[in-house]
Symmetry: C2
Subunit: 448 residues, 2 copies
Amino acid sequence: MKTYDVIVVGAGPGGYVAAIRAAQLGMNTVLIEKAKLGGMCLNWGCVPARRLMESARAYSQVLGASAFGVEGFSSDSVRFNWKKAVGEKERIVGKLVKGIEFLLKKNKVQVISGEARLLRGHDVQVAGEVLTAGHIIIATGSRPDRAPLATLPANLVVEVDELFSRTDVPEKLVIAGGDTVACETASMLSLIRRRVTVAAPEERLMPWMDESLSRFVADKFKKSGIRVITGVRITSSQGGISVGDEIVEADAVVNCSRRTAILPPMEDTPLDLRDGFVEINEFMQTSVPSVYAIGDVTGRIFAHVASAQGVCAVHHIAGLREPVDYLRMPVTLYMEPEIGAVGFTEEELKQRGIEYVKGEFPMTASSKALIEGNTEGFVKILADQKYGEVLGVHVVASHAADLIGEAAMCMRTEGTLDDLIRVVHAHPTVSETFREAGFKASGKPLHM
Amino acid sequence: MKTYDVIVVGAGPGGYVAAIRAAQLGMNTVLIEKAKLGGMCLNWGCVPARRLMESARAYSQVLGASAFGVEGFSSDSVRFNWKKAVGEKERIVGKLVKGIEFLLKKNKVQVISGEARLLRGHDVQVAGEVLTAGHIIIATGSRPDRAPLATLPANLVVEVDELFSRTDVPEKLVIAGGDTVACETASMLSLIRRRVTVAAPEERLMPWMDESLSRFVADKFKKSGIRVITGVRITSSQGGISVGDEIVEADAVVNCSRRTAILPPMEDTPLDLRDGFVEINEFMQTSVPSVYAIGDVTGRIFAHVASAQGVCAVHHIAGLREPVDYLRMPVTLYMEPEIGAVGFTEEELKQRGIEYVKGEFPMTASSKALIEGNTEGFVKILADQKYGEVLGVHVVASHAADLIGEAAMCMRTEGTLDDLIRVVHAHPTVSETFREAGFKASGKPLHM
């Protein structure tokens, strides 16, 4: 029986980071993966989605280039070649998978291909062998729930990961779901001129995010010709696809439904679950203390959260007690424009009875946004009323995913409105809007 | 004689921000401008340069769009229409000037057109009238020194502000100067396929910035076909333009030389100067205590520094003592790719004998950079050896100007390598490279 310090099951951004960290700390580590290194995020999720979004943006930019003085071709002749875009995406994904392979090798992590079966709190079976370890980390991920689309004919349903690998995309699509992945996918497909209907089960798009962001996205979708129907279920009907009471004409339904955990096969070690996800404590330990779980399988559906949880779990195994700070975990959405958020939403502050001040600044008043030709969006800053500590930042802007880093850093260091105002921002940059929103929250905006 | 609390001379980003702030604090304020609201930065400097850079980038993006699956036109047919790009730039500048007009009006700042003459420590003459005030703020700016090009025929020399207003740009250009504006201008002109020679007076491009940045730019220029000749003077010669010992064939020389102060006409109040710039104390007071000076005229050549100085001066007039923190002042360069920097350079740390650790991370290892198709560049982090306080951050990346905000915030709050590592960065983003460089500086990179 082979013996390790740590067995990691699942090589997504949670699992492979945990494995590297464990090996760096001197632990004898094995990483088991049944499909591809990099997991959902790299192969079928975040990375493919972002690359295809970049491609869709490139298409938009070419169509809009004449405003920048770029000429010599007719917009009518410009075409988006999905198959080629997907091919380029595959090339990039392949490169990144190779990168992970290299890192694992360099850090002396053993990799085993196959599906792991959890036997007991220290044992795992894979490829006919039993491995044993002091600790096991489960990082097996999640997938969109198929139940909400159960009544549809199978040939109508496209899983979102599948969509990113197809060589063509139909003209008319229904997106099933209203959360971040649904909104990103709708935005991308709309940029490449597909007719998109978003059918969201909840009354609001992205219901857990700040309401200003949900409202922005709903308005933006409306302006872009994306139909949004909320509070509905999708069912099969004779005429086509029923979205609530309506029949929507569509060639396919893309499944961006709420995600469910992919649990590894288990034998004697049933782990406690909550809502179908593995229950963990603040150090990622499951109900079996030698077994940790991280990432989507725990109900936290972002790659960087999985990585942070992975490092936390490994550090805990090494004797360090460093809980993950979920509040200061940024969220980024690759839409047009981008969205970035960190900290409390305004609704959460109200629910908790926290007294707060608020500052909003529109991108229309940002000179850099005007220069870039992207004046849609805003910055919204929420701060503690008494001490000015920054409690939440919500941004819609062309590089919001990069900008939100400053806000996350501000919150990490318990920065205040005063810090946001006094840290000098280069001019002209979009990040100046943080300062302006900060000024506004504290009562005296310069540029409004 | 009209009486004010504050007279501000010059309506650039130093002067107009100072005037608004003064008015917001209840001071009766007048702003005098001899040319255009927004000054050099908005009308002939940062904003036009950035917009034309965006245009040049759009041209590049269209030429490279097929890698993203965008097709239907031939690269050979794509042209850059400089005149149209300049026209769009004028439109944007016009909009921003209107915005400043609106802000000044809204904040009840009186604006007077004309050239101000400083009479005494409290008096200014403009448009035939004498105005008097408790305090005067001089924000009259700077312009590139013309002396280094004195031997050239006047018709060969183009001032950089003039360049941005011309309806055409010659094919072959010499850029006189090697600092930030020279490098930005060279990068932009090269993107739109001009033949560019940079003739720098010093031995190194951007000699005051971290040497890694200078080296990157020199290498990048070489790869892009931009000729760089350092440590040379430009003189007139029979065969054309002499750059050091060489004759360079060129249609024009763009003057991006070191800047000199534009001093207002003065009568009884000669202000102390240093190297031609107005000497000030930490609160922007000149040798005449009722007269303040801010921005380029003090030898600090960045718009956001001018704004920060303006707020500092006004706050000092209002009784607040808040010196400007020049160390934590970010610098951004709009080149391809962008550059952002804040804090000490490595050379400065060596000179001061500060013990430091260093972490570098290449953009080739960033998945987001790969997704965007821009893997040139790196992040370099310098931190105090003992406590890990971040002392300097130098970034070359596609959105470096936005990314540097996080570093500036980190330094503002006296953040450490530990903060850079533990603040969670969304995945995939370019800002993750901060974490990786932070890990590397502290000894254990995850993704290298």
